[in-house]
């Protein structure tokens, strides 16, 4: 997996630039953005690990066969509806990025903020690349749901602990989780993707399942982010 450019518009949206994000990147801010982008592209080392599991619906969620894990909640249940298998995925930009952002904090918070947002955009890019590669590896004949992460809707955040363990993420890509469920390295994502033999109705990624729905700035203005 290779990331060759960073999605600046996305990063600036994270910083609250609104819709015409790219027009606002100029002057000093443009210089900082370019500096941070170059440094990040040199530093980030995207890695991912995944495993495919057979699943079966259960009374209180979805059972992951041959493991002790049950995915709990009605949201993950409906996400995986009609799927016979699921992919557990963890993606990370690796530890160097965290250190780079910390170093920027000593130079100025504007750099740290820009770098942090660019890194978040890069994480999203890495996830998309990982998804493409996984879909190709699992097989073209299958259908896939979008990425559903612990913490979305009523899907418990602490599912991350078991999920990381099952795919051996600490050992394979160096991702761990703290007691407060923060992934380390910070720019990391865990997710569940459903795999089905039959076509999956295109469920929209709506606000209902987002854990930011109560405090989201976009929603307050009757807009949404995707």
């Amino acid at each position: 997996m290779r990331i060759e450019y960073l999605n600046r518009a996305e990063a600036f949206r994270y910083m609250g630039a609104g819709t015409d994000a790219e027009n606002k990147i100029k002057g000093e801010l443009l210089k900082i953005t370019e500096e941070c982008e170059q440094a990040l592209l040199k530093t980030l080392e995207p890695r991912y690990v995944y495993k495919v599991f057979d699943i079966i619906p259960a009374e209180n969620g979805i059972n992951i066969l041959n493991t002790p894990l049950t995915l709990k909640g009605k949201d993950v249940y409906s996400h995986l509806k009609g799927c016979s298998r699921c992919v557990f995925l963890c993606v990370t930009l690796s530890a160097g990025v965290d250190k780079l952002i910390r170093a920027y904090e000593t130079e100025g918070m504007e750099k740290a903020l820009v770098a942090d947002s660019l890194a978040s955009a890069a994480t999203e890019q890495a996830c998309e690349l990982a998804e493409e590669e996984i879909q190709a590896a699992v097989g073209k004949n299958y259908h896939f749901t979008w990425r559903f992460s612990p913490g979305y809707g009523d899907f418990p955040l602490d599912t991350q602990v078991e999920l990381l363990k099952l795919i051996d993420a600490p050992k394979r890509i160096g991702v761990t989780v703290t007691d407060s469920m923060i992934l380390i390295p910070r720019k990391s994502v865990t997710a569940v993707i459903g795999v089905s033999e039959t076509e999956i109705p295109k469920g929209r990624r709506g606000c209902g399942s987002c854990n930011m729905k109560d405090s989201c700035k976009y929603r307050k203005n009757y807009r949404h982010c995707v």
Binding site: M15, G16, A17, G18, K24, G27, E28, L29, I32, E35, R47, Y50, K51, V52, N66, T67, P68, L69, S94, A95, G96, D98, K99, I101, R102, A103, E105, T106, E107, G108, M109, E110, A112, L113, V114, A137, V138, G151, L157, E162, K165, L166, P170, K171, R172, I173, G174, T176, T178, D179, S180, M181, I182, I184, P185, R186, N211, M212, D214, S215
Partner: protein, 795 residues
């Protein structure tokens, strides 16, 4: 049989193969804790160990890899019972053989500071518990480590709580780095220094991919090298490993000429792999290599080999610097970090760190500063103190192999400092002085250098790790002394073969235009063999003297580094951001609005020559900040632009602070505010942005950092008589700590207002948990502070 005898008597030492792979083949479900089986199915474990012994293993690893406090938390079993049972099962299999049982210990599973939240000291405690529980084992193995800092905590715990031999193996990727960025050389330098008995590599790759990693390791260590590769690489979909026993053995055999002594297998291997390896090694001879380990110091991601002049940055030192002393007294590590980053940008290869000043706890400050610098920079440090207790504290928490500054020829110094250097595996600067002061002659200084060297060698410190400082005296006071220093330096270098170090700037004290004298003396010293000039790397002519010397001496091949630094494109990139606007014509408010930091600072310093600081603050800085603040509220500019201005203002305030430090005036504070990211949360960018803005408005921010225990907020609020506390949380999981902190403050009747902020908060939730204010962004935090302290405005 013990480990040492085993190494001496056997041509090769055979280790066992994977435990997890075999357990899974026998029905262990993915995600289950394998160590529980030590108690629930001891026969199964003894059986597997026996198979490995039958296959030819000389050392077997007990099933204790994940048996730590943290991983066993929910198992209902204690570390002690799991480890004792694990070792008992292994010992049972060893009965009647010469096979040794290793206490096997893997990573804790939580990342250490600064990336994670686990402190070095907590990690040490976790490992200590395992080491003590494993007292029945014959040796200790730490394996699959990716974080050198964690491994240092582990190795110290082993060495300080047992007398067993220790094997340390780490896990590398194909780029010859671990996940946390640790290099092979840093691993070797650090672990050999800390007293590991064998080091090596396990897991992640197969024997073929590990070849270049092993090759580098064998070049960097004199210790026995252990290798436990995986059975090739796993298939991403099926997770099956891709090489057979025969291929594994064949590829393993290829590692013999590199000098590997101990062989085994990791993930995907089973007893048949070990017997294949055993067979393949039959009749082969161990290849004893004699690598030359260079003089070097390191952090996990950066090794500095002293094979040519390297610059030691001298700026982190309060001697003669009022602003620095003030920062230390105020506990302002940001200022010190700024100095660190600036010196590295200037070209420092190593940073000297000295925080000794009256009125502070030097030991605590040293620990804090070392950890803080290492969290943002990968340049090795030279730990500088006259107090051995401070040195030991710093040596303990340092990540990598540092330099100690310093020991001298006095008996007291030799006795207290050198054992520390040995224990923690550092390099050391030896000063050519003793009870009688600094010898006047080169011969006298040479004799002291020789004495220091001999004492170091007696303790087992390597010759390559002793750097001698022949001491620079002030040439305006003693003119002949300059040549004495250089003569002594030359002799130490040539006759003792040691690396040399010299604080250069002292030479020109008392003379006009000092840098002319200093840089010429520096060049003279370099030609006599100076390896480590201690200078201010941001003094251009000093750094340039080193760069030029490296070209002329042929160290800088094809002048590449010189050209990169002083040539066309590189020269442009050296101009800091913000220096491009025309110098003289811009106003301070223009500099602020456009985020021009260095311009802002320069203009402020100019203004202060003629204008009262308070006038600069009230007439220019605050109105400009207010203006951008209101533009931000109206949505005309967005967050990074607001912070750009705030950051530029910060540099203006730094100019004012420097002015105050010079004139001895006191900074006027509008009031003290506590800021903290609550317990469990480590997202602190938002909090730090709030800090910059509040400081701009003249508030004194007591920044308690991230992951702050509730009690610490309470304690500080009471002690400092605080009127406003700001708490930040970014996770739904950490809102509980926020609520708890508020509850604690209220329960103890602390008379303060509390403002809260963070992405997952809502005004309703803020009210529910008892906060006085909800701050939707950094700008609003300032409005709240104004309201609380000055009764101005509505929030």
């Amino acid at each position: 049989m013990d480990f040492k005898t085993l190494l001496n008597e056997k041509e090769f030492v055979i280790l066992d193969g994977a435990m997890g792979t075999v357990l899974q083949a026998r029905g262990l479900k993915t995600g289950e804790t394998p160590e529980i089986l030590n108690i629930e199915n001891p026969e199964l474990l003894t059986d597997i160990h026996s198979e490995y012994i039958k296959a030819g293993a000389d050392i077997i690893y007990a099933n204790t890899f994940g048996a730590n406090r943290y991983k066993l938390e929910k198992s209902g079993r204690s570390v002690e019972e799991i480890i004792k049972a694990g070792i008992k099962n292994a010992k049972k299999a060893c009965d009647g053989t010469n096979v040794l049982t290793a206490l096997d210990i893997g990573p804790i599973g939580q990342l250490l500071e600064p990336s994670g939240t686990l402190s070095f000291e907590e990690a040490y405690d976790i490992y200590k518990e395992q080491v003590l529980a494993g007292s029945e084992a014959d040796l200790i193995v730490f394996e699959t480590m990716t974080d050198l800092y964690e491994l240092k905590a582990a190795l110290l715990a082993a060495k300080e709580n047992s007398d067993k031999p220790v094997i340390c193996t780490m896990t590398f990727e194909e780029n010859k780095r671990t996940f946390t960025g640790c290099s092979v050389s840093a691993m070797a330098l650090t672990l050999e220094g800390l007293g590991a008995d064998a080091i090596g590599i396990n897991c992640s790759l197969g024997p073929k991919e590990l070849y270049p990693v092993v090759e580098e390791l064998c070049r960097m260590t004199k210790l026995p090298v252990a290798v436990k590769p995986n059975a090739g690489l796993p298939d991403p979909v099926t997770n099956a490993y891709n090489i057979t026993e025969e291929e594994f053995a064949l590829l393993t055999e290829k590692l013999v000429p590199l000098g590997v002594k101990l062989f085994g297998g990791c993930c995907g291997t089973k007893p048949s792999f070990i017997s294949a390896v055993k067979n393949a090694l039959k009749g082969k001879n161990f290849v004893k290599t004699a690598p030359l380990i260079p003089s070097a110091c390191c952090t996990p991601s950066k090794t500095v080999v002293i094979d040519r002049p390297r610059i030691i940055g001298e700026r982190i030192n309060p001697t003669g610097k009022k602003r620095f002393k003030e920062a230390l007294l105020a506990g302002d590590t940001d200022y010190i970090l700024g100095q660190a980053v600036e010196q590295v940008k200037g070209g420092a290869d190593i940073l000297d760190v000295n925080v000794g000043t009256p009125g502070i706890d030097e030991k605590e400050m040293m620990k804090r500063v070392v950890k803080a610098i290492q969290s943002v920079s990968d340049v090795p440090l030279q730990l500088d103190s006259t107090d051995p207790n401070v040195l030991e504290a710093a040596l303990r928490v340092y990540n990598g192999k540092p330099v100690v500054n310093s020991v001298n020829g006095e008996e007291k110094s030799l006795k207290s400092v050198l054992p520390l250097v040995k224990k923690y595996g550092a390099a050391v600067v030896g000063l050519c002085l003793d009870e009688n002061g600094i010898p006047k002659t080169a011969e006298g200084r040479f004799k002291i250098a020789e004495k220091i060297l001999n004492r170091a060698l007696e303790l087992g410190i390597r010759r390559e790790d002793v750097y001698i400082d022949c001491l620079t005296l002030t040439v305006s006071a003693e003119q002949e002394a300059a040549m004495v220093t250089l003569e002594a330096l030359e002799r130490v270098k040539n006759e003792l073969g040691l690396r040399t170090v010299l604080g250069v700037s002292n030479i020109s004290f008392g003379l006009p235009d000092r840098v002319k004298i200093s840089s010429n003396f520096l060049t003279m010293a370099l030609t006599k063999g100076l390896d480590l000039p201690i200078i201010n790397p941001n003094t251009e002519s000093m750094t340039a003297a080193v760069a030029a010397f490296n070209v002329l001496k042929g160290y800088d091949e094809n002048s590449m580094e010189y050209i990169a630094k002083y040539g066309g494109e590189g020269a442009n990139s050296r101009v800091p951001v913000g220096e491009t606007a025309p110098k003289s014509e811009i106003s301070l408010s223009y500099a602020l609005e456009n985020g021009l930091r260095s311009e802002g600072k320069r203009i402020t310093a100019e203004l202060l020559k003629t204008t009262d600081p308070m006038a600069v603050i009230n007439d220019i800085l605050i109105p400009t900040l207010d203006k951008t603040g209101s533009e931000f509220e109206k949505g005309k500019i967005f967050l990074p632009q607001l912070i750009l201005t705030a950051g530029a203002a910060q540099s203006c305030f730094e100019a004012i602070k420097e002015h105050y430090a010079r004139t001895g005036e006191k900074t006027v504070s509008k009031g003290k505010i506590i800021l903290a990211t609550v317990k469990g949360d480590i997202h602190d960018i938002g909090k730090n942005i709030v800090k910059v803005l509040l400081e701009n408005y003249g508030y004194e921010v007591l920044d308690l950092g991230k992951d702050v225990p509730c009690e610490k907020v309470l304690e500080c609020a009471v002690k400092e008589n605080i009127r406003l506390v700001g708490l930040s949380a970014l996770m739904t999981t950490t809102l509980a700590s926020m609520e708890e902190t508020i509850r604690l403050l209220r329960e103890n009747k602390v008379n303060c207002k509390i403002m809260v902020g963070g992405a997952v908060l809502t005004p309703e939730y803020a009210e529910k948990i008892g906060a006085d204010f909800y701050a939707k962004d950094a700008k609003e935090s300032c409005d709240i502070a104004k309201k609380v302290f000055e009764g101005i405005g509505n929030v």
